[in-house]
Symmetry: C2
Subunit: 343 residues, 2 copies
DNA sequence: CTGAAAGCGCTTACAG
DNA sequence: CTGAAAGCGCTTACAG
């Protein structure tokens, strides 16, 4: 039972492969092929269970209908959600997705980018790592469709969809300040990622602008080493909170939040009585089991959808017109005890 | 700046494309091509930044080096973890992965299978839904490399890697019984999936074998409708627990566990004081924040790795010999208060 | 040691 | 209305 090809059908029905191809691609009427012939060809194609070889189509047309998705780690909740939305949205346009995890390793990221290019993906959806700037610029200058998500480089002209990190963080900080917290610590990670810097800037600005009456307030930042061990990082977090006598802590990302909470639990520090906690980037865990944590929710679904749209704009040669190619989505601050979450 | 092809390099160096191809594929010495020529070709290929077109290679060789991964939902923690392991393991063999979510919809599953076949993936890694049995049998009979994961159909001859659902569940049940629980409920889902049935069978058998002294014990099963709303399901769970006056409950899968816990929290039912909870299939949430839940841990990483191996065996024409193609991995029961988790 | 040629399975001008 | 032919970019027998 060999695979049936266009040629097989052509031979069986006694017509040329061109005709079969036209019919199977719905161009029968356009080519004014007789109804009878059309029926006959369609019938035998069906009978033989013909499936076009997409690889041959790709080589011929130059389109693979495959998108390359480069994330930090597909097993991480945030990226997995992103991947799902992208899968669903891309499917609407007839595209499939190949995913790759960079693990925040720029060498690996570059290699993956090269590999995806060799496989002729039609476009790239990327949550970049710090070392990928040059490669991404190059792709874009070669007019390869690229969209960056979640993170970006300053002054980057490549289309992207980011989150309003500054706004979300500011809102959360206002909340803490209004509630009377004065010793607010900020915990971030040393990945040099733009979105982290924006969050930190919002934190710093909020602290700087605190009313003079709350004189005790001062900037207190801990920068965790991404590649250190979990235990080492937890130790640092715990020390940071205690030695600075913090009454509130802001985790710059969901990963840190989970790590931090594990640490707080081990240290038996009660939330929010002893320590108020805010985390940028929501997680099921918070929503379901630690409702006392306030969160700044990232609009993952929207990000995935918009990213696919920006990519389609590039693939379809600006068909939606020259709309804005650099989006900022709002992050939604949800104060503690809220269990509702927008869809 | 057009893409450079083999032909370009051949023209620039004044040799035939065959020679260039041999050199670039490391067959220079095999073909006894002169060292000088080899150097020259390699140098210009490098200078031009030549990247082979993998689509053309695929069409010619009949190998895409792409694996199709069909899971229930890539955004679900379990499947995302599986995807990550598979990505890492497949990479070692030079394969990339295209993922697809079936959403337990057999129509969608069939369509995805067809699509992957058209794209000429070299092999399939599948967590099947109940309606896919025929299609999978067909693929296998056509000698397409296929490996099933997590779930299976009874009497299925297709290579697969499953979990010892019966053993894991039995162990957990023994634990509950030994602890003195007598009104143990079992909550499962109506997907008709083999692994669910195995878990339920283990539960039933354990109940049936309970010492006569504990006469009150009886089989108490709730089967949730997968497609019902979350609220509806929570209502059912809550009613089930109360009306049966359960003192312990066993959730047949992680998805149900999370749902159930959300429900228990809303009802203010304390764990484990008022109700002991065991869940098949671990989740970070349990490990980190509800240590009072006992779990039956699925070896996700091992499953992913072994699945890739079984697929490679088929791709490499049984190169590892005729080893067992149907694996059962042990699930590890971890009684409550355990926070350690094996790597 | 190297080249000319066929062919993987399609699509699409071009010709009639 | 339909067919012959070129070509997408490679690999690999085959010939010399």
């Amino acid at each position: 039972m060999k695979k049936v090809s266009l040629k097989d059908i052509a031979e069986m029905t006694g017509v040329s492969t061109s005709t079969v191809s036209f019919i199977l691609n719905g161009k029968a009427s356009e080519m004014r092929i007789s109804e009878a012939l059309k029926k006959k060809v369609l019938a035998t194609a069906n009978r033989l269970g013909y499936q076009p070889n997409q690889v041959a189509v790709s080589l011929r047309t130059g389109q693979t209908k495959i998108l390359g998705l480069l994330v930090e780690d597909i097993s991480n909740n945030f990226f997995a959600m992103l991947a799902k939305t992208i899968e669903d949205e891309a499917e609407k346009f007839g595209y499939r997705v190949v995913y790759c995890s960079t693990e925040n390793d720029s060498k690996k990221g570059q290699a993956l980018l090269r590999m995806l290019a060799q496989r002729q993906v039609d476009g790239f959806l990327i949550t970049p790592t710090s070392g990928m700037e040059q490669d991404i610029r190059k792709l874009h200058s070669q007019h390869k469709p690229v969209v960056l998500m979640d993170r970006c480089f300053s002054g980057m002209e490549v289309p992207h969809v980011l989150v309003n990190n500054y706004g979300g963080t500011s809102e959360a900080m206002q909340h803490l300040i209004k509630k009377g917290y004065t010793r607010i610590g900020f915990i971030t990670v040393d990945l040099g990622l733009n979105q982290m810097l924006e969050r930190e800037a919002a934190y710093s600005d909020a602290i700087a602008k605190m009313p003079a009456t709350k004189a005790k307030a001062k900037k207190t930042v801990l920068t965790i080493n991404y590649h250190s061990s979990k235990e080492e990082n937890k130790k640092q977090i715990s020390k940071f909170i205690k030695s600075n006598k913090l009454d509130a802590v802001f985790f710059a990302t969901n990963y840190l939040g989970i790590l931090g909470l594990e640490c707080l639990r081990e240290q038996q520090i009660r939330i929010p009585n002893e320590l108020a906690v805010v985390c940028f980037d929501d997680h099921d865990i918070f929503r379901l089991y630690i409702p006392d944590i306030s969160v700044v929710q990232q609009p993952v679904e929207e990000m995935g959808r918009k990213a696919v749209h920006l990519l389609m704009d590039q693939l379809g040669k600006e068909r939606t017109g020259s709309k804005d190619q650099q989006l900022r989505l709002n992050a939604k601050f949800v104060a503690r005890e809220s269990t509702s979450r927008e869809a």
